[in-house]
Amino acid sequence: MAPPRSFFWSRRIFLTLLTGFVLVPVYVMVSSSLKPLADVTGEFHWVPSRLTIRPYIDIWSTIPLARYFVNSLIVAGAATVCSVVIAVFAAYAVSRYEFRGKRVFTVTVLSTQMFPGILFLLPLFLIYVNIGNATGIALFGSRGGLILTYLTFSLPFSIWMLIGYFDSVPRDLDEAALVDGCGPFGALLRVVVPAAIPGIVAVAVYAFMTAWGEVLFASVMTNDATRTLAVGLQGYSTLNNVYWNQIMAASLVVSVPVVAGFLLLQRYLVAGLTAGAVK
């Protein structure tokens, strides 16, 4: 059945407007990153009068961008690995076994997702400061401390999504492995995990993206040495000048890896969301 004519023109108008809305900021980011400073501090122009790659060279020396980049990479990477590994075990237990307290556990995990980050920020801040005072272990301001706080949002989400995903892997598969002499861990690692790779990739992508973009904990829990990109980028605003061209260039540089990764892996994310969130 062919859709009515009205469908085609409404689709054309809607999609054109929406594409404009989506792309204008992207265009601003790209075009401004190629303008000399004088051009971004003056009146805005759609078409750059002069193009320069200078901002892309200067971003590395105006602030220690490379260090922030490495910090973000370590923190987001470690938070992702930790939450995925731990969530795989927990989700396997919930998906495959009946045990006392299962419902309490899943409800707790589900509900911590709705809590505002600010709720955990204050107590964690105090805990870290006090542990530091009492034992000399510097959790506050360290990458380890930040990784730990990032588990507040990545862990519940990972467990929640993976339970749904593991449920969609046929039980016959790992039961066959158990019959064939695999232990429960063997069945998990050799059968369930490989079958659930799309879901695990989805969870990892999501956890990495949120950790890479996180601002709240990063702005309180870091110091000069451990600052992540989320906070470090503010360094391009000085008393005298806001280096908008460099800010745009740096934003682009830190965005390209995540956006590329996301677009490459988004098929898995959609599949994971279908199995996990959208039952």
């Binding site: 900021p25 505002p116 955990f120 588990l151």
Partner: protein, 330 residues
């Protein structure tokens, strides 16, 4: 702890495993009852560390007079009873009045943002449902706002909202002549609309993603049958697509609501530590009460109040939407 007690029970019941009560699927197969707890142990420990302990401490903090003098050793801070709560909900005094204002702003902002995100996401997903040239490209483009790191995306909007050198004023004032003079977007009343724009721009692709996933699960036979019965395109969307998406939409709207309501990153990058009054979202408000004016006790009380509100809203929502569904679905 939780892990040892069932493990002991498992050892005791091991010889008569078949007689063990409980809803296990195949009692003979799972010999070690402690196994699920062993698998859960790392998750349990971390949940304890990052969620339960901080929550308990947060609640304790809310009953203390916790100013900057006591941060180094917060255990010694004097108890203040319900004072922090009293101050927070005393809407005639400055602190309570500001909190109420911030709460109302947040509610209005959240409802508008979630509604718009849902509308845009659903419309885009429906329009992109059948194949046409350029569909794959559009799909990828539409996901860019969602994939961009929050601070990179929002900082671009900050640049666009600049008074003198921003794109927004250039278009509205210089090109379209809609305003008499360039407006301020990041201070004053306009800031609410600036925040809403950024939030919708960043958030709608998530709705798009979920609705697209939901659409894939609707069996094609439904449409074929409807087409045979003579149902038109719009009728099919109204009678088949939207009802079939109901469970998906229920989860989606709840998640969008919670994320938007709790959002800190967007307003914080857009406005900094203290947001303009018109766009003073509750997360930033609590942050400011705690880390700018250094009153952690009041900040904690506000957090607890916020949590109670979210629990009530979520509870009501689940109650209203779970009718006819098995309780196990949650």
């Amino acid at each position: 702890m939780t892990t040892t007690a069932p493990a002991e029970a498992a050892v005791q019941q091991n010889p008569s495993g078949a007689a063990h009560p409980g809803p296990r699927r195949r009692p003979g197969r799972i010999r070690r009852i402690g196994l699920p707890y062993l698998l859960l142990l790392p998750a349990l420990l971390l949940e304890l560390l990052v969620h339960l302990v901080p929550m308990v401490i947060g609640i304790v903090m809310s009953f203390k007079e916790l100013t900057q003098f006591y941060i180094r050793d917060w255990g010694t801070a004097p108890s203040s009873g319900l004072d922090n709560y009293r101050v927070s909900v005393d809407f005639d005094a400055p602190v309570g009045e500001a909190l109420l204002h911030s709460f109302l702003v947040t509610v209005a902002f959240t409802l508008l943002s979630v509604g718009l995100c849902w509308l845009l996401g659903t419309a885009a997903a429906l329009y992109l449902q059948d194949t046409f040239r350029g569909r794959g490209l559009l799909r990828a483009l539409f996901l860019i706002p969602y994939a961009l790191p929050v601070y990179a995306a929002v900082i671009t909007w900050v640049f666009m909202f600049q008074h003198d050198n921003g794109l927004v004023n250039h278009v509205l004032h210089d090109q379209l002549h809609l305003t008499d003079k360039p407006s301020f977007w990041l201070i004053g009343d306009n800031s609410f609309w600036a925040l809403l724009t950024v939030s919708v721009w960043k958030g709608w692709p998530f709705a798009f993603l979920i609705v697209m996933a939901g659409l894939q699960n609707i069996p094609g036979e439904l449409y074929e049958a409807a087409a045979l019965d003579g149902a038109g395109m719009w009728q099919q969307i109204r009678r088949i697509t939207l009802p079939s998406l109901r469970p998906v939409n229920q989860v989606l709207l709840l998640v969008l609501f919670l994320w938007t309501f709790n959002d800190f990153n967007t307003p914080f990058v857009l406005f900094g530590k203290s947001a303009p009054e018109a766009a003073d979202l509750i997360s930033v408000h609590i942050y400011q009460a705690s880390f700018v004016t250094w009153n952690f006790g009041t900040g904690s009380a506000m957090s607890v109040l916020l949590l109670l509100f979210l629990l009530v809203v979520t509870g009501l929502y689940l109650l209203l939407t779970s009718r006819g569904r098995k309780p196990a679905d949650v």
